[in-house]
Protein backbone atom coordinates (compact mmCIF):
# COMPACT_ATOMS: atom_id res chain seq x y z
CA UNK A 1 0.00 0.00 0.00
CA UNK A 2 1.33 3.40 -1.02
CA UNK A 3 0.71 6.72 0.67
CA UNK A 4 -1.45 7.92 -2.21
CA UNK A 5 -3.58 4.79 -1.93
CA UNK A 6 -3.94 5.53 1.77
CA UNK A 7 -5.26 8.99 1.00
CA UNK A 8 -7.72 7.68 -1.60
CA UNK A 9 -9.01 5.03 0.78
CA UNK A 10 -9.37 7.62 3.52
CA UNK A 11 -11.43 9.84 1.24
CA UNK A 12 -13.63 6.90 0.22
CA UNK A 13 -14.23 6.11 3.88
CA UNK A 14 -15.08 9.75 4.63
CA UNK A 15 -17.71 9.69 1.86
CA UNK A 16 -19.21 6.49 3.23
CA UNK A 17 -19.47 7.87 6.74
CA UNK A 18 -21.26 10.91 5.42
CA UNK A 19 -23.95 8.61 4.02
CA UNK A 20 -24.35 6.78 7.30
CA UNK A 21 -25.99 8.01 10.47
CA UNK A 22 -23.91 6.68 13.34
CA UNK A 23 -25.67 8.30 16.29
CA UNK A 24 -29.21 9.42 17.03
CA UNK A 25 -30.30 12.52 19.01
CA UNK A 26 -31.14 10.33 22.00
CA UNK A 27 -27.75 8.58 21.97
CA UNK A 28 -25.96 11.93 21.84
CA UNK A 29 -27.97 13.20 24.81
CA UNK A 30 -27.28 9.99 26.75
CA UNK A 31 -23.58 10.50 26.14
CA UNK A 32 -23.67 14.06 27.49
CA UNK A 33 -25.21 12.80 30.75
CA UNK A 34 -22.27 10.44 31.22
CA UNK A 35 -24.59 7.55 32.07
CA UNK A 36 -21.62 5.34 31.52
CA UNK A 37 -18.52 5.30 33.71
CA UNK A 38 -15.16 5.73 32.09
CA UNK A 39 -12.19 3.64 33.06
CA UNK A 40 -10.53 6.36 35.11
CA UNK A 41 -13.70 6.74 37.17
CA UNK A 42 -13.55 3.02 37.99
CA UNK A 43 -9.95 3.35 39.20
CA UNK A 44 -10.96 6.41 41.19
CA UNK A 45 -13.81 4.51 42.88
CA UNK A 46 -11.43 1.73 43.96
CA UNK A 47 -8.87 4.25 45.20
CA UNK A 48 -11.56 6.16 47.11
CA UNK A 49 -12.74 2.93 48.74
CA UNK A 50 -9.15 2.16 49.73
CA UNK A 51 -8.82 5.66 51.18
CA UNK A 52 -11.93 5.18 53.35
CA UNK A 53 -10.51 1.89 54.69
CA UNK A 54 -7.11 3.50 55.41
CA UNK A 55 -8.73 6.47 57.15
CA UNK A 56 -10.97 4.18 59.19
CA UNK A 57 -7.91 2.24 60.33
CA UNK A 58 -5.96 5.42 61.11
CA UNK A 59 -8.85 6.86 63.16
CA UNK A 60 -9.17 3.58 65.07
CA UNK A 61 -5.46 3.65 65.96
CA UNK A 62 -5.72 7.31 67.00
CA UNK A 63 -8.60 6.52 69.36
CA UNK A 64 -6.50 3.77 70.96
CA UNK A 65 -3.13 5.50 70.85
CA UNK A 66 -2.81 5.59 74.65
CA UNK A 67 -2.55 1.79 74.60
CA UNK A 68 0.82 2.12 72.85
CA UNK A 69 2.69 2.55 76.12
CA UNK A 70 6.33 2.31 75.05
CA UNK A 71 8.31 4.77 72.92
CA UNK A 72 8.89 2.25 70.12
CA UNK A 73 5.25 1.19 69.92
CA UNK A 74 4.23 4.85 69.94
CA UNK A 75 6.72 5.56 67.12
CA UNK A 76 5.29 2.66 65.11
CA UNK A 77 1.77 3.96 65.81
CA UNK A 78 2.51 7.53 64.69
CA UNK A 79 4.32 6.25 61.58
CA UNK A 80 1.37 3.99 60.70
CA UNK A 81 -1.21 6.74 61.20
CA UNK A 82 0.83 9.23 59.12
CA UNK A 83 1.19 6.80 56.22
CA UNK A 84 -2.46 5.80 56.35
CA UNK A 85 -3.46 9.45 56.09
CA UNK A 86 -0.92 10.77 53.60
CA UNK A 87 -0.46 7.98 51.02
CA UNK A 88 -4.07 7.62 49.83
CA UNK A 89 -4.46 11.37 49.72
CA UNK A 90 -1.41 11.77 47.46
CA UNK A 91 -2.55 8.98 45.13
CA UNK A 92 -6.06 10.42 44.87
CA UNK A 93 -4.61 13.87 44.15
CA UNK A 94 -2.46 12.50 41.35
CA UNK A 95 -5.36 10.55 39.84
CA UNK A 96 -7.76 13.50 39.92
CA UNK A 97 -5.05 15.65 38.34
CA UNK A 98 -4.91 13.27 35.37
CA UNK A 99 -8.70 12.95 35.23
CA UNK A 100 -9.27 16.69 35.33
CA UNK A 101 -6.86 17.40 32.48
CA UNK A 102 -8.67 20.04 30.40
CA UNK A 103 -8.78 18.50 26.93
CA UNK A 104 -10.22 21.62 25.33
CA UNK A 105 -7.73 24.12 26.73
CA UNK A 106 -4.48 22.80 25.31
CA UNK A 107 -3.03 21.64 22.04
CA UNK A 108 -2.26 17.99 21.26
CA UNK A 109 1.43 18.57 22.02
CA UNK A 110 0.77 20.33 25.35
CA UNK A 111 -1.75 17.68 26.40
CA UNK A 112 0.74 14.92 25.62
CA UNK A 113 3.43 16.66 27.71
CA UNK A 114 1.04 17.26 30.62
CA UNK A 115 -0.37 13.76 30.45
CA UNK A 116 3.00 12.00 30.31
CA UNK A 117 4.35 14.14 33.18
CA UNK A 118 1.28 13.45 35.34
CA UNK A 119 1.55 9.77 34.54
CA UNK A 120 5.22 9.71 35.55
CA UNK A 121 4.39 11.51 38.82
CA UNK A 122 1.62 9.05 39.60
CA UNK A 123 3.85 6.08 38.85
CA UNK A 124 6.63 7.45 41.04
CA UNK A 125 4.14 7.91 43.83
CA UNK A 126 2.76 4.41 43.38
CA UNK A 127 6.27 3.00 43.40
CA UNK A 128 7.13 4.89 46.60
CA UNK A 129 3.80 3.70 47.98
CA UNK A 130 4.78 0.08 47.41
CA UNK A 131 8.01 0.51 49.38
CA UNK A 132 6.28 2.44 52.14
CA UNK A 133 3.52 -0.17 52.15
CA UNK A 134 6.15 -2.76 52.85
CA UNK A 135 7.42 -0.79 55.84
CA UNK A 136 3.82 -0.23 56.91
CA UNK A 137 3.28 -3.97 56.97
CA UNK A 138 6.21 -4.38 59.36
CA UNK A 139 5.13 -1.62 61.76
CA UNK A 140 1.38 -2.20 61.73
CA UNK A 141 1.69 -5.73 63.17
CA UNK A 142 3.09 -4.71 66.60
CA UNK A 143 0.68 -1.76 66.75
CA UNK A 144 -2.38 -3.91 66.10
CA UNK A 145 -1.16 -6.71 68.36
CA UNK A 146 -0.81 -4.22 71.18
CA UNK A 147 -4.18 -2.54 70.59
CA UNK A 148 -6.19 -5.76 70.09
CA UNK A 149 -4.35 -8.23 72.38
CA UNK A 150 -2.39 -5.89 74.67
CA UNK A 151 0.82 -7.76 73.75
CA UNK A 152 4.23 -6.25 73.00
CA UNK A 153 5.56 -8.14 69.98
CA UNK A 154 9.06 -6.75 70.53
CA UNK A 155 9.54 -8.35 73.95
CA UNK A 156 7.40 -11.48 73.96
CA UNK A 157 8.35 -14.97 72.80
CA UNK A 158 6.35 -15.56 69.70
CA UNK A 159 4.95 -18.84 68.47
CA UNK A 160 6.18 -20.17 65.12
CA UNK A 161 3.01 -19.40 63.17
CA UNK A 162 3.19 -15.56 63.19
CA UNK A 163 6.84 -15.75 62.14
CA UNK A 164 6.06 -18.13 59.27
CA UNK A 165 3.18 -15.90 58.19
CA UNK A 166 5.42 -12.84 58.34
CA UNK A 167 8.07 -14.67 56.29
CA UNK A 168 5.56 -15.73 53.60
CA UNK A 169 4.13 -12.21 53.29
CA UNK A 170 7.66 -10.82 53.19
CA UNK A 171 8.60 -13.07 50.24
CA UNK A 172 5.35 -12.25 48.42
CA UNK A 173 5.99 -8.55 48.92
CA UNK A 174 9.47 -8.85 47.43
CA UNK A 175 7.98 -10.48 44.31
CA UNK A 176 5.28 -7.82 44.17
CA UNK A 177 7.84 -5.00 44.47
CA UNK A 178 9.96 -6.58 41.74
CA UNK A 179 6.93 -6.91 39.43
CA UNK A 180 5.80 -3.37 40.21
CA UNK A 181 9.27 -2.04 39.46
CA UNK A 182 9.37 -3.75 36.04
CA UNK A 183 5.96 -2.27 35.13
CA UNK A 184 7.06 1.13 36.37
CA UNK A 185 10.28 0.99 34.37
CA UNK A 186 8.56 0.01 31.15
CA UNK A 187 5.86 2.70 31.39
CA UNK A 188 8.24 5.49 32.38
CA UNK A 189 10.65 4.53 29.59
CA UNK A 190 7.82 4.88 27.08
CA UNK A 191 6.80 8.24 28.66
CA UNK A 192 10.39 9.50 28.47
CA UNK A 193 10.50 8.47 24.80
CA UNK A 194 7.34 10.43 23.96
CA UNK A 195 8.54 13.50 25.89
CA UNK A 196 11.94 13.37 24.20
CA UNK A 197 10.37 13.05 20.77
CA UNK A 198 8.17 16.06 21.46
CA UNK A 199 11.30 18.12 22.10
CA UNK A 200 12.84 17.20 18.71
Amino acid sequence: MELEEMKTLWEEMSQKIEKQQLVTDQIIMDMTQQKYTNKFSIILIYESLGTVICYGMAIYILFNIEKLDTWYLMTCGIFTVSLLFILPLLTLRSLTRIKSLDVAAHSYKETLVRFERSKKRLLLLQRTGIYLGFILFLVVLPVMDKIFNNKDMFTMDMAAFPWILTGVVFVLLIFFIRWGYDCYKSITTSSEKVLKELED
Partner: protein, 167 residues
Protein backbone atom coordinates in the same frame (compact mmCIF):
# COMPACT_ATOMS: atom_id res chain seq x y z
CA UNK B 1 -32.65 23.57 25.31
CA UNK B 2 -31.44 25.58 22.35
CA UNK B 3 -27.85 24.82 23.33
CA UNK B 4 -28.58 21.09 23.46
CA UNK B 5 -30.12 21.21 20.01
CA UNK B 6 -27.13 23.11 18.65
CA UNK B 7 -24.81 20.55 20.21
CA UNK B 8 -26.73 17.59 18.77
CA UNK B 9 -26.59 19.19 15.33
CA UNK B 10 -22.84 19.85 15.68
CA UNK B 11 -22.19 16.20 16.57
CA UNK B 12 -24.41 14.91 13.75
CA UNK B 13 -22.69 17.18 11.24
CA UNK B 14 -19.25 16.02 12.36
CA UNK B 15 -19.80 12.46 13.54
CA UNK B 16 -17.46 11.20 10.83
CA UNK B 17 -14.52 13.06 12.40
CA UNK B 18 -15.14 11.33 15.73
CA UNK B 19 -15.61 7.96 14.04
CA UNK B 20 -12.30 8.20 12.15
CA UNK B 21 -10.34 9.36 15.21
CA UNK B 22 -11.79 6.65 17.44
CA UNK B 23 -10.96 3.97 14.87
CA UNK B 24 -7.31 5.06 14.87
CA UNK B 25 -6.94 5.18 18.66
CA UNK B 26 -9.16 2.33 19.84
CA UNK B 27 -8.02 -1.27 19.95
CA UNK B 28 -11.38 -2.87 18.99
CA UNK B 29 -15.04 -1.98 18.30
CA UNK B 30 -16.06 -2.00 21.98
CA UNK B 31 -13.12 0.20 22.86
CA UNK B 32 -14.04 2.45 19.95
CA UNK B 33 -17.56 2.92 21.34
CA UNK B 34 -16.12 3.78 24.77
CA UNK B 35 -13.82 6.36 23.24
CA UNK B 36 -16.62 7.75 21.03
CA UNK B 37 -18.74 8.41 24.10
CA UNK B 38 -15.89 9.90 26.07
CA UNK B 39 -15.18 12.30 23.21
CA UNK B 40 -18.84 13.36 22.91
CA UNK B 41 -18.95 13.87 26.68
CA UNK B 42 -15.77 16.01 26.62
CA UNK B 43 -17.12 18.02 23.66
CA UNK B 44 -20.34 18.67 25.57
CA UNK B 45 -18.37 19.77 28.64
CA UNK B 46 -16.43 22.33 26.64
CA UNK B 47 -19.21 23.29 24.21
CA UNK B 48 -20.27 26.26 26.30
CA UNK B 49 -16.75 27.67 26.67
CA UNK B 50 -15.93 27.11 22.96
CA UNK B 51 -18.41 29.65 21.54
CA UNK B 52 -16.56 30.20 18.30
CA UNK B 53 -13.19 31.10 19.89
CA UNK B 54 -11.54 28.97 17.21
CA UNK B 55 -12.76 27.18 14.09
CA UNK B 56 -15.33 24.53 14.94
CA UNK B 57 -13.27 21.79 13.33
CA UNK B 58 -10.10 22.92 15.18
CA UNK B 59 -11.93 22.70 18.53
CA UNK B 60 -13.43 19.36 17.62
CA UNK B 61 -10.18 17.74 16.45
CA UNK B 62 -8.35 19.14 19.47
CA UNK B 63 -10.82 17.78 22.02
CA UNK B 64 -11.15 14.44 20.23
CA UNK B 65 -7.40 13.91 19.85
CA UNK B 66 -6.63 15.03 23.40
CA UNK B 67 -9.30 12.73 24.82
CA UNK B 68 -7.80 9.88 22.81
CA UNK B 69 -4.38 10.44 24.43
CA UNK B 70 -5.84 9.80 27.87
CA UNK B 71 -7.89 6.87 26.58
CA UNK B 72 -4.80 5.15 25.14
CA UNK B 73 -3.23 5.09 28.59
CA UNK B 74 -6.16 3.79 30.55
CA UNK B 75 -6.35 0.34 32.03
CA UNK B 76 -6.71 -1.91 29.03
CA UNK B 77 -8.21 -4.74 31.06
CA UNK B 78 -11.19 -2.73 32.32
CA UNK B 79 -14.53 -4.01 31.11
CA UNK B 80 -16.40 -2.03 28.49
CA UNK B 81 -18.99 0.36 29.85
CA UNK B 82 -21.02 1.07 26.73
CA UNK B 83 -23.17 -2.02 26.38
CA UNK B 84 -26.29 0.03 27.14
CA UNK B 85 -25.93 2.16 24.00
CA UNK B 86 -26.40 0.83 20.48
CA UNK B 87 -23.95 2.64 18.27
CA UNK B 88 -23.98 1.53 14.66
CA UNK B 89 -20.41 1.38 13.44
CA UNK B 90 -21.15 -0.74 10.37
CA UNK B 91 -20.43 1.20 7.21
CA UNK B 92 -22.63 0.72 4.13
CA UNK B 93 -21.58 -1.71 1.41
CA UNK B 94 -18.40 -0.57 -0.27
CA UNK B 95 -18.99 -2.18 -3.68
CA UNK B 96 -19.60 1.18 -5.33
CA UNK B 97 -15.96 2.19 -4.92
CA UNK B 98 -13.18 1.51 -7.41
CA UNK B 99 -14.94 -1.61 -8.66
CA UNK B 100 -13.78 -3.59 -5.65
CA UNK B 101 -16.05 -5.78 -3.56
CA UNK B 102 -17.14 -4.69 -0.07
CA UNK B 103 -14.99 -7.23 1.74
CA UNK B 104 -11.95 -6.41 -0.39
CA UNK B 105 -12.43 -2.74 0.43
CA UNK B 106 -12.76 -3.57 4.14
CA UNK B 107 -9.55 -5.61 3.96
CA UNK B 108 -7.73 -2.64 2.49
CA UNK B 109 -9.19 -0.42 5.22
CA UNK B 110 -7.95 -2.85 7.88
CA UNK B 111 -4.51 -2.71 6.30
CA UNK B 112 -4.62 1.08 6.26
CA UNK B 113 -5.51 1.22 9.94
CA UNK B 114 -2.92 -1.42 10.77
CA UNK B 115 -0.23 0.81 9.23
CA UNK B 116 -1.44 3.86 11.16
CA UNK B 117 -1.68 1.94 14.42
CA UNK B 118 1.98 1.00 14.11
CA UNK B 119 2.88 4.66 14.52
CA UNK B 120 3.44 6.26 17.91
CA UNK B 121 0.95 8.59 19.56
CA UNK B 122 2.49 11.79 18.14
CA UNK B 123 2.68 10.41 14.62
CA UNK B 124 -0.87 9.02 14.75
CA UNK B 125 -2.33 12.46 15.41
CA UNK B 126 -0.31 14.08 12.63
CA UNK B 127 -0.98 11.50 9.92
CA UNK B 128 -4.68 11.48 10.79
CA UNK B 129 -4.92 15.22 10.24
CA UNK B 130 -2.87 14.90 7.05
CA UNK B 131 -5.22 12.23 5.69
CA UNK B 132 -8.14 14.44 6.64
CA UNK B 133 -6.74 16.90 4.13
CA UNK B 134 -5.81 19.56 6.69
CA UNK B 135 -3.27 22.19 5.70
CA UNK B 136 0.01 22.50 7.62
CA UNK B 137 -1.36 25.69 9.22
CA UNK B 138 -4.46 23.88 10.47
CA UNK B 139 -2.42 20.91 11.71
CA UNK B 140 -0.14 23.34 13.55
CA UNK B 141 -3.14 25.07 15.16
CA UNK B 142 -4.59 21.76 16.36
CA UNK B 143 -1.39 20.09 17.50
CA UNK B 144 0.63 23.01 18.84
CA UNK B 145 3.69 22.23 16.68
CA UNK B 146 5.10 24.96 14.48
CA UNK B 147 4.25 24.84 10.77
CA UNK B 148 7.87 23.98 9.90
CA UNK B 149 7.90 21.26 12.53
CA UNK B 150 4.67 19.80 11.16
CA UNK B 151 6.30 19.61 7.71
CA UNK B 152 9.43 17.95 9.07
CA UNK B 153 7.51 15.45 11.15
CA UNK B 154 5.13 14.55 8.32
CA UNK B 155 8.12 13.99 6.04
CA UNK B 156 9.56 11.55 8.58
CA UNK B 157 6.22 9.79 9.01
CA UNK B 158 5.81 9.35 5.24
CA UNK B 159 9.28 7.86 5.10
CA UNK B 160 8.49 5.53 7.98
CA UNK B 161 5.24 4.41 6.33
CA UNK B 162 7.04 3.77 3.04
CA UNK B 163 9.49 1.51 4.85
CA UNK B 164 6.62 -0.27 6.62
CA UNK B 165 4.77 -0.77 3.31
CA UNK B 166 7.80 -2.54 1.84
CA UNK B 167 7.95 -5.03 4.74
Amino acid sequence: MQQKEAFIQTIKDNEGIIYKITRVYAKDTEDQKDLYQEIVYQLWKSFDSFKGKSKLSTWMYRVALNTSIAHLNQNKKSPSSTSGLSLNFELPDAADHSGTSGSEWEDRMHMLYAHIKQLNVIEKGLILLFLEGKSYEEIAAITGFTITNVGTRLGRIKQKLKTNFKK
